[in-house]
Structure formats: C-alpha cells, structure tokens
Amino acid sequence: MLELQNVTVIFNEGTTLEKKALDNVSLTINDGDFVTILGSNGAGKSTFFNVITGSIPVKSGKIFLDGQEITHQPEHVRSKTLGRLFQDPSQGTAPHMTVEENMGLAISSHRSLFAIAVRKQEQEQFKQILSQLDMGLEDRLKTPIGLLSGGQRQAVALMMAVVNPPKLLMLDEHTAALDPVSAKKILEVTNQVIAKDRITALMITHNLKDALENGNRLLIFQDGKVTHDFSGQAKEQLTIEDLVHCYDV
C-alpha cells in the first residue's frame, strides 16, 4: 500500500520561476490497484512519481510504502522494491550491454555481487520471460540493446521492471514515444504482467481511451493537485465525454 500525506513539492522556491508542482497531495493506493493517471502537461504527474522514487525531495509531507515511511530514504534503497518505466525507451536500458546483460542487471541487486550474472540457467529464464512478448526477443539475447527498436527496448525495459515483481510499478507515458502498433503491444503486455503477479501499478497516459480501458481506478491531476478520483463502478461508467469536461486535455 502506498500512502502520501500532505505532500508538497516546490521548484525554484523564492525566485520568479517558483512553481508548486505538488500542492498538499494526500492519496492512498491500495494493493493490487491499477491506477491510470491523466492531466495536462505540467500538472505534476511525473513529479508525483519522482517523489515516490526519491529522485526529487519533498518540501513537506510524508510518504509511506507498506506502512514504512520512505520520505527520506535514498533513491537507490527504495528502488529495490519499485519499478519504473519512462517515455523514452533509451532511459530504461543500457545501450551497449546485451539484452541478457540488461535482464541480468534487473535481478542483480538480489544476488551475490561476485556471482556470474548470466549463466545457462538465467539465459533459460530470460528466454522464457521474453518469449511471452511474442517479439522474437528470446533469440536476441546477445544483441546490444541499443540496436533494437524503441518498442523492443521498451518491452525489455518492462520485463526488467517486473522480473522481480515490484511493490509498485510506475509507468510514465511509457507508450507515448512508440508507433501505434508497438504501443498497443506494450500496453497489452503491461496488462498481462500486472495481472499475472497482481502488481500494484500507476500508469500516466495522455490517451483518454487507454486511461478508461485499463485499470480499476483513474486519477486526474491539475496544477499539482488530484482533482478527480474515480474507482470501480464510477470508473467503469466513465466516458471520454465525461473526461473531456474534467480537465483541459
């Protein structure tokens, strides 16, 4: 369970560029929730993710993950139990390392530092994981990942994020930079992996349809605040029409 209590983030405080990116946000995300998030540019959606991962400090407020306060925990400590995907596929993978090395990296923090990362056994494991994608990536384990297409890279990055199921999976417009076919594919796989391990997930998107058709809860951010929060029934009955009236798209 994720809980934010009165979280505020201010950029460039005390200057003319001062910007309240998160304004006293309080929010609880339950285990197993798949939350889609909408909001216009600059609404504070990515900042919301950044305070959860710790890449941006909060000005005030508290953050709890599974009952433990993580507000001031260093980023690399929290990351052990968090998974994150960015819009730009190149952000989530190391280009000069091979597909299997990238996958190996994803599980490395749970294993002995001086053990060989990718042995036969791991190769089999990665092949099996990647074959779920139906993209033929299981045959390209030795390819430097920078040589793959954006969609393929994002697919691997997704698998890297869930190979050890995280307490929370954060997807920041992770299909926005892909061609429509790849985007559809990645979204499909996203639903599969989330359902398989009942991963708690947050997905930022600009696509109203995607926000409606996926997940069991929908949040709308505006000016650093959560202005709308639809769950269960309420979300299911929501239409694109309704959404258009909720915020300036």
């Binding site: 991962t53 890449s55 260093p74 980023e75 690399h76 400590v77 990351s79 052990k80 994150r84 190149s90 952000q91 989530g92 993978t93 190391a94 280009p95 000069h96 390392m97 090395e101 990238n102 190996g104 990296l105 490395s108 923090s109 294993r111 002995s112 530092l113 001086f114 053990a115 060989i116 990362a117 990718v118 430097p144």
Partner: protein, 290 residues
Amino acid sequence: MSPTILMNALQLGLIFAVLSIGEYITVNIMDSPDLTVDGSFVSGAAVCAMMTLAGMPNLGLICSMLVGALCGCVTAFLQTKMKIQPLLAGILTMTGLYSINLRMMKNMPTVNLFIKGKPAPTLLSNEEFRIAILLIIVLVIVGLLYVFFKTNLGLMLRASGDNEVMVKSSSINVDSMKFLGLGLSNAFVGLSGALLAQFQGFADISGGTGMLVLGLAGIIIGEAILKPKNVGTGLIAAVLGAIIYRFLYTIALRLGFAASDMNLVSAVLVAITISIPHLQKLMKGAKNNA
C-alpha cells in the same frame, strides 16, 4: 632494428598495457576519463621503489595497486561527496599527489633502485623470464577483469557508465560505483608505474607527465585495429594497442625524434584519432556542397 630493441619495446608495451587497461575502465566502461592518472602512476612507482629498496619488491607491486586504488577513491570522494566536476576532481588529486609522492620519495626527484651499489633484485631482474612474467601479469589481469565484468557487480559498474540516468533510478548506488571504478582503474595505473620503476631501475617524480594520454593512445590504436564490440575484445584491444604504440614509439625514436618529443606525438595522435568521425563528416559536407 636489433632484437634487443624490439624485446625492449615489447616489454615496455606490456607494462603500458597495464596502464591502458586501467584507463579502459574509466574511459570506456565509466565513460569519464580520469585525470588522476598522471599522479597515481607516480604514486605506484614511488611506493614500489621505496619498498624495493627496503627489500620487499613484490609486496611493493601489491602496495602500488593499493595506493593507486586509494588515489582513485580520493577522486571519487571529491566527485561524489564534494560534488566537484569529474575532470577537476582528477586534477585536484593529481596536483595534491605531487607533494605526497615527493614525500614518499624522501624529497628526491629520482629514486634509484640500487642496494649497496648493485641493482635491487625485483620480479623483473631476470631478463630471461622478464617477458614471460610481464605477459602473465597482463593476461591474468585481462582474464580477471573479463570475468569480473560478467559478474553482477561488473554489470552494475558497466551500466552506470552506459546509462547513468537509468542506474540513478535503479537500486544501484551510483556513488559506490564511482569509488569502485576509479579505485580499480587507478590500482592498475599504480601497478603500471611500479612495473616501469622496477624495469627502469628508478622512480621519477615527473614520470607521470603525459601518462593519461599515453594510455589513451594505446586504447585508441587498439580500437582502430580490432573494432571491439564487447568488453572482452575491448580489453584485448587496449593491450594490443599499447604494445603497437610502443613499437611505433621505438620507430619514431630511430627516425630521430627525441624521447621528449613523444608527448607531443601522443597528444597529436590522440587528438586526430578522436576527431576522425568529425573530420569525416566535414569532408562529406564539403563533397555535398561541391
């Protein structure tokens, strides 16, 4: 050229291969050249020289690595904990090391490795085995690093150089990786300095000048020849490049260049090689305009 000169070049090539391997870790793996080198090279030489004079030549080699690693960690500390730019951090360490190195050498600009008027015995004393010993050292280092870069820790180090943004948002501690990488790199730089001191029979306070560029030259030549696609071939390329560079160096000396001209030669070589992609682009542009 006489066989002796060629043998000499090969031996020096192997010694500088250790330097290039060290720099390979910062330049290629961490994607951030480290200027500590010109200082830590001498630190390794100085420590080893003093210990050799004290009758502990082999322990001296090991200590040269430890001292080198320590130098790298100082630079890592400046970078991570004091938020100093990587290049400046290296320069600061290098500058400070000059004084420390001089102290280690008891304020003598050169320390000759003579005990009671005779050359001090070292691992490299026996000319017959010298090449074999150097070859073994280089191969063991390449082998160990090759395996290391396949371990979980090795992958983490490589990833932090390959995509720092990703690693920052992962469970890998980027700061620790800087300590690891710079420490490891300078351990080999120090060892290279120590081997050179034992080979030449003296350590020189200004012997570090130009070493960064010299090591780089080896890496670059190796890359041009082998076009390495992975870490294993990258390491081999660095070794091969260092040896080839030493042969070119020897030829240049024969052609009448003075040893003191060679820093310029290395610098020009590295500058040209690095700018080749850009020059090619310019040429293409010129053609298209014509």
